[in-house]
Amino acid sequence: MIKQVDIEQDTYFLYPAALVVKEQPMKIHTILGSCIAVCLYDKVKKAGGMNHFMLPYWNGTGLATPKYGNIAIERLLDGMLRIGCKQENLVAKVFGGSAVLNVQSNAFSIGDRNSEAALDLLGEYKIPIIAKSIGGTLGRKIIYDTYTSEVIHRIIKN
């Protein structure tokens, strides 16, 4: 059966520490400060998903939630593979990781550490990063179209 999908209607607001992967096209909105959002996209299947993590690595305390980069990226990849994507067809876009909170000058900010974790982990999974906007001191608002892989990106005041 062929089903008409209304792309405009299916919008999803992604909260921190959550992730979303769907076979159906959708527009995922999120707002980032020091958090990172990784958008994965399957070029062949034309489907995608996004996570939104707050800290780089899980330290073994509490639940292993996608609040942490290593968990969030692994779960997002799992989700993509589950809907039938192939790892070799995946590309990534990375956003966020700004230093929105004032921190001591020489220490790495959470944003920097998050960005580094995202780039490292995607490198480990051998997923090419085709676009990124990370760092800086201002927040970001992004809208990711999982059908076209297009990301609309705006800088916002915190």
Binding site: Y15, L19, G60, G62, T65, K67, K132, K141, R154
Partner: protein, 299 residues
């Protein structure tokens, strides 16, 4: 570069001393980082093995209730008409078992959902007074068995009305039922459990106080670890899966809340939950008003 050939012996010695000191400083830092990594590795290993053994650890918790329910219901079926009054007692036993099972399964599914990143806040206006009263009512049987007195104090500092609060009802209920369940579980018989809700301009503070066994200083660090039960011996009277507090912590993250506790060994524990009231915007999408430059980039 410093030219060491022209330096006096004293200055050279001072230079060496300062460099050795510097080296020592770095060495200390490396040692510190090393031990952090070792500790982390140990923790992750432990967590992984606890996770692997999760099913076998909780299979008793899940199977025992079914076995008792089955046995009790068989007994009920064979009760003579004259002895029907016995049935009430049997039904109360079934209720206890099912209540525990329901509570544990709710927690396990909540944890699975949070770990999968599928949990989103669904904000509604909650009648906190009603929610807590219903909760105490639902734990009535559990508290009655231990002869506990459960009190609820509601203080609205903003207005004189019933305590309303904007948040995710289902998650707040799970938070409070875990707090109340723990308080009942760790209370000594015939003690008091007190729940206090205080609402000011934008925060809801809920304190759950018990007069139970308390938490020792050495255990304070590990109570939030998942699958960890402080008293998990085979003779342990306390049942459970060790997920409660780690779930509560994760839900607090989602609801913008804080969970803390004060405890004295043998005297009791007070858990304090602080939640920020959700703003009217239930979708969480901010307005366009705070965007600067009005510039859009397409990636």
């Amino acid at each position: 570069m410093t030219d060491f050939t022209t330096m006096s012996n004293e200055r050279l010695l001072a230079e060496i001393k300062s460099r050795l000191k510097e080296k020592e400083l770095y060495q200390n830092q490396v040692n510190k980082l090393n031990s952090t990594i070792l500790e982390l590795g140990k923790k992750l290993n432990e967590s992984e093995s606890l996770k692997t053994h999760f099913i076998s650890n909780i299979s008793n918790e899940l199977m025992n209730p079914f076995t008792s329910i089955l046995a009790i219901s068989e007994n009920i079926l064979s009760v003579d008409k004259e002895n029907w009054k016995k049935v009430i007692h049997m039904v109360s036993l079934i209720h206890t078992e099912v209540f525990n099972l329901d509570f544990q399964l709710k927690n396990i599914f909540a944890a699975a959902k949070i770990e999968a990143g599928e949990t989103q806040p669904e904000i509604t206006l909650i009648n906190i007074d009603q929610l807590i009263s219903n909760l105490i009512q639902s734990f009535k049987h559990e508290s009655k068995v231990k002869h506990l007195k459960v009190d609820y104090l509601s203080r609205n500092l903003v207005s004189d009305t019933v305590l309303y609060f904007k948040s995710d009802a289902e998650k707040v209920q799970l938070l409070l039922s875990n707090l109340l369940s723990n308080a009942i579980k760790f209370s000594y018989p015939e003690g008091n459990v007190q729940i206090e809700a205080i609402k000011d301009e934008e925060t809801l503070t809920i304190k759950v106080k018990d007069e139970g066994q308390g938490i020792s200083k050495s255990n304070e660090q590990i109570i939030y670890d998942r699958f960890k039960r402080l008293d998990s011996g085979i003779n342990s009277l306390n049942r459970g899966h060790g997920l409660g507090l780690s779930i509560m912590k994760a839900i607090c993250d989602i609801l913008n809340g804080k969970l803390s506790f004060e405890s004295e060994l043998g005297k009791g524990t007070t858990f304090t939950l602080q939640l920020k009231e959700s703003t009217g915007d239930t979708t969480g999408i901010s307005t366009d008003a705070d965007e600067i430059f009005f510039k859009e980039d397409i990636f």
